[in-house]
Subunit: 124 residues, 2 copies
DNA sequence: TCCTTGTCTAGATGACTTTCGAAGCAAGGC
DNA sequence: GCCTTGCTTCGAAAGTCATCTAGACAAGGA
């Protein structure tokens, strides 16, 4: 459980809402959660997220080289993921390393939990 | 281009990809999945989705009245959700009813499965 | 038949996104 | 100190999106 020094608590990373199929989200909850889905709604960012989530951590240089896009463009997409609270970055010497924020990621999955919903029963 | 009766199987609704944390998504997979996340990336659509998923089915009139937006705007958002393969609609008499496509919804949740990933172990 | 109500489509517009090249800043080697 | 490499920020061009009004279409009732 050793999490190294993550000073800022991102509110979007803590428990926010019940699964969206359990009961209607109110406007405030939707405003908190939608930006996370939005961040994953671009193919480049989804691949970046997938690459970051597949390993303990990864260097920007390895991310950039996997795409046919300029450095600034990749940097922009990483910033969007960071601001959505989905990943964290840390400079160590020459390189910057990215890693997934597991709690936010888990939270997002929980929102899409489909079990025990009226709709699930009706369609099943 | 009749919108009634869409007998076409939506490819995005069938099993597509392993969880995004299991291994990096390739460009093709990302292109298939990203539009679904994008559809949920707007607060209005996320609430619409949540309202639809919370009940077996729901009438457009009940959806429209829950927002401070014009009918055409709600209709536009519902179209985006439909084209993302997340919901289905059916006209019955005067009203149009919407219901969640459970398989697509389940698929989306499975993509965010965080268990058994290198990142999950490293951060835990 | 015509009217009303419910929903969708068309077209316009202002705001936001994606992308780039140029420039900046931080670390490390000469 | 200066140069190189890695990454980010800035500013701009081009494309996409959310929203509206106006209008069309479908169903049902007078």
């Amino acid at each position: 459980m050793s999490k190294q020094a993550l000073p800022v608590v991102d509110l979007r990373a803590v428990a926010c809402c019940p699964p969206i199929a359990a009961r209607p989200l109110d406007a405030g909850q939707a405003a908190v959660v939608a930006p996370m889905f939005k961040a994953l709604g671009d193919p480049v960012r989804l691949r970046l997220m997938s690459m970051i989530a597949s390993v303990p951590e990864i260097c920007v240089c390895d991310l950039t080289s996997a795409f046919d896009l300029s450095g600034p463009t990749i940097s922009h997409h990483l910033k969007v993921l960071r601001e959505a609270g989905l990943v964290d970055s840390e400079r160590r010497g020459t390189w910057v390393w990215y890693r997934v924020k597991a709690e936010a990621f888990r939270q997002l999955g929980a929102l899409l939990d489909v079990s025990a919903t009226p709709a699930a029963e009706a369609v099943a």
